[in-house]
Symmetry: C4
């Protein structure tokens, strides 16, 4: 198998996901600044998700750069990550339209948590294949930040039911 | 002709197909978990189609890796496969919205069958060009699974008119 | 400048165009075969446009393969071609929904003609840059088919006002 | 880090942006030329934005060609540019539907200005990393046109409130 096609396919999917979210930003009917106001929460959620997908692309780029070559199981772990990322536009749009509601905010956190877990699985798969002395294993040895981010997403899902502003604060922190 | 562009174009088309299906998952109007319930069959069909396209991308990746270089007829056999795959979002959306109906379930099977046939034609085209001793020909010699999957899709199309749950079970098995 | 990025960008645009047309094929509300009937002209136009874009991708692939390296003017001639191709989903959808109408059929022909002219301009630009002894110039020396196709698109635009079936026949012939 | 993936991802995003704008051009209900007339301002805005994104792709292509290799900060400066470009379809659609209105015209200018600033930041980041004797630094030394374009976008935003035709004229000039 070759690494280039795995990178190209992942780049394609992430590029499309980061771009189709903008389709949610539908041109308002009015033509003044007031017409933009209802779009503000949708816009802010868009910015948040753009940054989140940007971080994933960035980290994915680094991780695959350190990987030697993909195996079948790495390919599937990668598709599993892309599946979770593909749900980001949906929860972005739901949270954007229902900004002060607990369940959409929690749903955003669940997809964030799922993506973080899928990313960790992909990392573990590559290390399992390439051994504990591989370049990637050495690089992530002290990846405390990664583990902290898993815990924080889990917290955000719970806090959404207390007050969704706690969750929003965590989402903005997490990048 | 060069193989890289054929791979890049196929990657692009499959990446877009796997991603635009998520546009069907429109954010519900309500903001509680109950609002998600009507989306469940659409979501499950999305998962099924995501896995199916993932498998095609995976297999396509392996097949082209073994291929030496494309000819004109291989290019067209590849476009023919991409055409069938491009219908997956349509049948996904139709079956997702009419889950207990026979005809959409059968339509899903017809597109699955068409894709499997197109994949087989592409494989046969490459082997016809590169000869029976080529790397691909050796690799697929005993591809009983491929032929079985053709038969099962054909069965699923018929069974949809008896009871669509039989077909659903086959679709989930087929990956 | 490098040729790879020009190819990758063109592949990206054509892959997206060939794929977003399928978004026009919206899942019908009914769940029987009769529900598919109104989709038939849209589906047939989709097939026609898929083949047309497939041919352009195929020819573009060959032409750029013979090109040495792009200049600024070649880049713009290529963008000009992509612009015309980007109108294909629009006319596909218009003609698909108004199948027996003269103006949409003529509009389809105008976009087809524009694309063919833009393709010819790109070819002429590359030959102007690389000289009459370049590989591309030698290959297209006797490109009578290309010139015939320009004439036929022009005819199809006119014939649409006589009877759109003449035009449809020409469009199907042209690939 | 490697330059190829940065280019491929940017190509993907720009290719998608330049293409999804055409989804705004929805097939009219009527089937005569009169039905096309309300689409004219949307079409003209589409052409303008297509050219604008084409210029960005073109310039981006040149700039990255001169760059040695990306760092983390260059990656983020690039994502920042892609973010501004991703807003072009939104303002295109808003200005296209409200052609004689001041605020959408100004919004178009703000996104144009933001994109131009983001492009300048990316250029400055690369030069800061690679030093004043790098190939890129030498090439842009006398980039008066770039600075003029910043000033003109700022002017267009202001003029939109006087008369949006001034702004339109500037937008058409700017490429």
């Amino acid at each position: 198998m070759n690494k280039t096609r795995l990178e190209a396919f992942s780049d394609g999917v992430i590029a499309i996901l980061i771009t189709i979210m903008v389709l949610e930003l539908q041109a308002p009917h009015g033509a003044d600044f007031a017409a933009l106001r209802p779009l503000l929460p949708i816009f802010l959620t868009y910015v948040l998700s753009f940054v989140m997908l940007g971080i994933y692309w960035n980290n994915h780029h680094h991780m695959l750069h350190l990987m030697e070559r993909p195996t079948g199981s790495i390919l599937w772990a990668n598709l599993h990550l892309l599946f979770w990322l593909s749900l980001i536009p949906f929860v972005t749009s739901w949270m954007g339209e229902n900004h002060s509601a607990a369940v959409p905010t929690a749903a955003y956190g669940i997809v964030g948590l799922g993506s973080a877990i899928a990313y960790t699985i992909l990392q573990m798969r590559i290390i399992a294949v390439e051994g504990p002395r591989s370049r990637l294993a050495t690089a992530v040895q002290a990846d405390i930040k990664g583990k902290a981010s898993l815990a924080m997403y889990a917290a955000a899902v719970g806090l959404a039911f207390v007050n969704q502003w706690f969750s929003d604060a965590l989402y903005v922190e997490l990048p």
